[in-house]
């Protein structure tokens, strides 16, 4: 059973921030992680601040390639169904489609997935390769940071007391192919054993690859632009990127996989990703 908790639905962002100053207050949007954790007793907030009604969080814009803004209220099925987004930035919908089930995706939000900060978060790798930033509001005003600075460890973020992520901002989308791939024990709503996202821009010769579930945070590979510039051969590029991936990650043994298997699968999935986005 869920322990007794107070509930408050603020009418404004300022009211939400004020309520979040309370000891043990937690914001709730989709609640698909939080409510389960409360049921398990792994999280026991004293006050839930329901941010679903706030206009500032209910924002979405995707204007051509010039950038995308996604508010904390936007759920994952929206990212899958939006035709414009599918055209501009398909990796978001592809990632979202791998998360949980249709019913849960009607509640679960992109920003909830990021704030939950699971190393295996399926929405995170795409955010890293897109260079997304989070916009945070709190008692000391607004601040912005890169997703790679925001997620700091297993279930840890840079959010301070009383702070709230309002939206995610994705800068200009590179021209080229992008993809998300996920290794899971069974097809369905299993968590990722390994997940990878990538974007290759053949004109600018930039290549971004991020691997999830293989370290305490998702790992954005360093040096992939150089690899992309050094070879035109896709197989060679795939092999070299896979080798780079093996060296860059620090997987552990857990319920879903051994560290050794994760390392092998990270290598396999990076190769598949390269063949998909660089061919």
């Amino acid at each position: 059973m869920i322990k007794p908790v107070a509930y408050f639905k603020p009418d404004s962002l300022a009211e939400a921030v004020e309520a979040l100053q309370n000891e043990n207050a937690r914001p709730i949007a989709g609640g698909t992680d939080l409510i389960i954790n409360m049921r398990n007793g792994t999280e026991n907030p004293g006050l839930l601040v329901d941010v679903k009604g706030l206009d500032e969080l209910d924002v979405f814009s995707a204007n051509g390639k010039s950038g995308i803004t996604i508010g904390a209220r936007v759920n994952l099925n929206f990212l899958i169904d939006d035709a414009k987004l599918r055209n501009i930035c398909p990796v978001l919908g592809e990632s979202a489609l791998s998360v949980a089930t249709y019913q849960l995706r009607n509640r679960a939000t992109l920003i909830g997935n990021l704030c939950n900060a699971s190393p295996a978060a399926d929405m995170a790798p795409a955010m890293y390769v897109l260079g997304a930033g989070v916009v945070i509001t709190g008692p000391h005003g607004e601040r912005k940071m890169l997703i790679s600075d925001f997620i700091t460890g297993v279930k840890r973020t840079a959010l301070g007391k009383g702070e709230l992520v309002v939206k995610v901002e994705i800068p200009e989308i590179p021209d080229g192919k992008m993809a998300f791939l996920k290794k899971q024990r069974c097809r369905g709503h299993d968590l990722a054993t390994v997940n990878v996202a990538g974007i290759a821009d053949p004109a600018a010769k930039t290549l971004k690859i991020c691997i999830g579930a293989c370290a305490v945070t998702p790992v954005l590979l360093k040096g992939t632009d150089e690899l992309y510039r050094e070879t035109d051969n896709v197989d060679e590029l795939a092999d070299r990127a896979a080798e780079l991936a093996r060296k860059s990650i620090a997987p552990i043994d857990d319920v879903r996989s051994s560290a050794e298997y994760r390392r092998d699968m990270a290598s396999v999935y990076v190769k598949r990703l390269i063949r998909k986005i660089c061919s």
Binding site: A6, Y7, D50, N106, R107, H189
Partner: protein, 160 residues
């Protein structure tokens, strides 16, 4: 500091009927439906959003009612399995489940009906793949899924 209440007043429309209730903030929507409104057609399976037995339609979208608090749904419109058949007349989908043996023990059936009806409402002519995707969040331990998918397909064919 302001005081915040552990009891929340909500107003909801369930299967067309208006309710104004006071609920504890830690009560899930599932328990509100089953134990407050006595609408026990919606089932509790896993309680953690994985099995889909508690699927209901909230503001036109299927969701798992075990991962939602009753406090969160103030002002919402909810449809449960009790709202499907009217005047002892089963819906086409319910009838198809019977004809295709889409249920055995029946525990998962209300959740399947809500997911599948919601699919047919937003897409009257879904492909088999779309049907499978739409009910992939509903687990059935008896039928092996085939008869369920056939039942949904039969209704889709009839409509198209």
């Amino acid at each position: 500091m302001k005081e915040y209440s552990k009891i929340v007043d909500i107003r909801v429309k369930v299967n067309g009927a208006e309710y104004r209730e006071s609920v504890p903030a830690n009560m899930t929507l599932l328990h509100f439906l089953r134990e407050h409104l006595m609408l026990t057609g919606t089932k509790e399976g896993c309680g953690i959003g994985e099995c889909g037995a508690c699927t209901i339609v909230l503001n036109g979208k299927p969701v798992t009612s075990c991962t939602i608090l009753a406090a969160e749904v103030d002002g919402s419109e909810i449809h449960t399995i009790e709202g499907e058949a009217k005047n002892y007349q089963l819906t086409d989908l319910q009838q198809a489940f019977i004809e295709h043996h889409g249920e055995q023990c029946g525990f998962c059936t209300p959740g399947f009906i809500m997911s599948a009806q919601s699919l047919l409402d937003r897409n009257p002519n879904p492909s088999r793949e779309e049907i499978v995707e739409a009910v992939s969040g509903n687990l059935c331990r008896c039928t092996g899924y085939e008869p369920i998918i056939e039942a949904i397909e039969a209704v889709a064919r009839k409509k198209s």
